[in-house]
């Protein structure tokens, strides 16, 4: 630095005016520093807020809910699989029947529409294997009369064939039975209704036009028609007048079963309501049902609790403060109702014992399970309510109640008493016994009831 210039710089700085901050400057800086410190302290305090732990039983409650969800999931899977299996079975059965009818129907349609008279049978429609037999039968069955009923459609799908002879079946007609579909006619019903079976034959001349619905065609022919009617059409014989294939059908029923279950202190009525799908064969039927079972448990319990009321007062610093608590000891008795609900699923089968007219009796057996849908606990709800309402401490609870299990499994047997109200509608009354492998209720880890009896009633519709 040029020493000669130094004195002039010093002089200049001395000559320039000096400035001082305002009076409150340090206070403002100080205040800002305080705010930053406060923010830091505040953040630190917030980071160190106390940590709370849940009660020890919380995990068990979560576990129970997880298990119940898994049970329900598996139950629904099983139910849906079984329902899908049954649906597939019904569909295949029906498809098989339809397929057979479709193949055979045109032959009957020709017979129906051709108004066949002796000698004018269209031989082209006769299967080759039957042609030789036809000429023999032609002579032997000259007086055979045939009526064809077509309920579905006149030109396509005959419902059945009636073969009637004017006398007791002779050797000739018996021979014809090999190829004919023979049915008896119930004279108590018109032909437009579903046929019932009767032991006697009605000569075809006695079938008046009044008896025959407009959708029925009747024709007479003195032609051995075994060539045009095949065994695949519904088959009847006088000795065994049962239509086996027509008895295979699908049914849907709605049932109610009240069931008394001992709950340890008395009886608890379980209401079982279910929708049952069934596949019915001649003497056997398969059932599957989905439903709801529920009960309403009346509970009486005593609860003791302390109500803490704060006693306020002005402290030494003049501020209103809580000085202490007044404790009121309460003893109360409560009554309430818990509604427990279960989803139910059953599989079973039945065997016909006997039938007489519109009445039939079946023996049935099956197995099922129930999965709890809800978990009502009025004691816990009451405790919570009292705690919240009065800021109270529960000191004791006296209650006697059974434990409702998440899942139950049972085996059911019953005798079905069916009465046919209408052509397709039946009323059913079934005394039912249920044996529980895994019970609904337990008390002190013991099942309260393993064997119950109930009376199931319901209506069934046959498709």
């Amino acid at each position: 630095m040029d020493e000669t210039k130094k004195p002039s710089v010093n002089r200049l700085s001395e000559q320039l005016p000096t400035h001082a901050p305002d009076q409150g400057s340090w206070q403002r800086i100080s205040a800002k520093l305080d705010l930053l410190d406060a923010e830091s302290v505040f953040s630190e305090k917030l980071a160190n807020l106390p940590v709370h732990s849940p009660d020890t039983g919380t995990w068990n409650t979560i576990l129970s809910r997880l298990n119940r969800a898994a049970y329900l999931k598996n139950g629904v899977r099983i139910a849906l699989s079984a329902a899908a299996g049954l649906l597939l079975f019904f569909t295949i059965s029906r498809f098989a029947n339809t397929n057979q009818s479709t193949i055979q129907a045109p032959k009957l349609a020709i017979q129906e529409n051709a108004a066949i008279t002796p000698g004018n049978t269209n031989q082209n429609e006769i299967p080759q294997q039957n042609q030789g037999q036809d000429s023999g039968n032609q002579k032997r069955a000259a007086d055979t009369k045939v009526a064809v009923k077509n309920l579905a459609a006149k030109t396509t799908k005959p419902d059945f064939v009636v073969v009637e002879t004017s006398s007791i079946l002779s050797e000739t007609e018996l021979a014809l039975n090999q190829n004919f579909n023979i049915i008896e006619i119930d004279t108590t019903y018109s032909l437009s209704q579903e046929l019932a079976y009767q032991e006697t034959w009605l000569p075809i001349e006695e079938i008046s036009s009044m008896d025959i619905g407009s959708d029925i065609s009747v024709m007479k022919q003195q032609q051995p028609v075994n060539a045009t009617v095949t065994q695949s059409v519904k088959y009847y014989t006088p000795e065994d007048p049962q239509d086996r294939k027509s008895n295979n059908h699908f049914g849907l029923g709605m049932y109610y079963l009240p069931e008394n279950i001992d709950n340890g202190d008395g009886n608890s009525v379980f209401h079982n309501v279910n929708l049952t799908a069934s596949y019915n064969k001649e003497k056997v039927r398969y059932n599957t049902s989905l439903g709801i079972a529920y009960n309403e448990e009346q509970l009486v319990f005593e609860m003791n609790y302390d109500i803490n009321t704060p006693v306020m007062g002005t402290g030494a610093d003049g501020q209103l403060d809580t000085l202490g608590y007044r404790v009121d000891k309460m003893e109360s008795q409560y009554e309430g109702t818990e509604k427990h609900q279960y989803f139910t699923y059953n599989l079973g089968l039945g065997r016909k014992l006997f039938s007489a007219g519109k009445f039939s009796t079946w023996i049935s057996a099956g197995a099922g399970f129930g999965i709890r849908l809800n978990d009502p606990d009025i004691i816990a709800t009451t405790e919570k309510s009292i705690k919240g309402q009065y800021n109270a401490q529960i000191t004791s609870v006296q209650a006697s109640k059974p434990e409702y299990n998440d899942v139950y499994v049972n085996f059911a047997t019953g005798i079905d008493l069916n009465y046919k109200l209408l052509k397709r509608l039946s009323f059913t009354f079934t005394p039912t016994s249920l044996w529980y492998f895994k019970p609904v209720l337990t008390k002190d880890n013991q099942p309260t009831d393993e064997l119950t009896l109930g009376f199931k009633t319901g209506m069934k519709f046959d498709f």
Partner: protein, 185 residues
């Protein structure tokens, strides 16, 4: 790539094992996961719903949802943060169910209210003061100041505007300051 890195870090590896176990519905893994996070999550739930019984309900519902949806966790955030989001949402649902959670649309105000807290203030007193705030104020304050959510995230979770979230925080801090002042004095 980030997931691969995590595989070689001890803590995340354990966490990954826990998640995979829970995905397989392994009860032991579910129990371990619960015990690892139950205190933190219960604390969050308790502060939001301001009731121990309700907090238990929230904790149960939240963990059931965690175990049900664990397959959707993609390791793109920490597991704790993912569970916390579920707990917060469940708590808010519970709070709305029990009370009418209302957020008044106030004028947007800068949330620069500063709270002076002496070092000697017990954290339990501070928590009591926070819990004494009205539901709306308390919720916004907890989510933004304690749990560290941004105003946008808070607003989205509560279904309110960002401005409302900011104004709620401002008023919450103001009220908290008043209550703490009374306590300190």
């Amino acid at each position: 790539m980030r997931n691969v890195v995590r595989l070689f870090t001890g803590k995340s590896e354990v966490e990954r094992e826990l998640v995979l176990g829970c995905t397989r519905n392994d009860r032991i893994a579910q129990r371990d996961l619960y015990h690892k996070y139950c205190d933190a999550m219960f604390t969050i739930a308790y502060r939001i719903v301001n009731n121990r019984d309700d907090a238990h309900d929230v904790l149960q519902d939240a963990f059931i949802q965690v175990f049900r949806d664990i397959g959707q966790y993609r390791f793109d955030s920490t597991l704790g943060a993912w569970i916390k989001t579920i707990v917060v949402r469940t708590s808010l649902r519970q709070l709305s169910k029990n009370r009418n959670l209302a957020f008044a649309d106030m004028d947007e105000t800068k949330s620069d209210e500063m709270i002076l807290i002496p070092d000697t203030l017990n954290s339990e007193y501070l928590e009591k003061a926070i819990l004494s705030l009205p539901d709306g104020y308390r919720t916004v304050f907890l989510l933004t100041e304690v749990e560290g959510y941004t105003h946008d995230e808070t607003a989205k979770m509560l279904g309110i505007s960002t401005g409302t979230s900011k104004s709620q925080l401002h008023h919450a801090k103001k009220m908290l300051k008043t209550r703490l002042s009374a306590l300190i004095d």
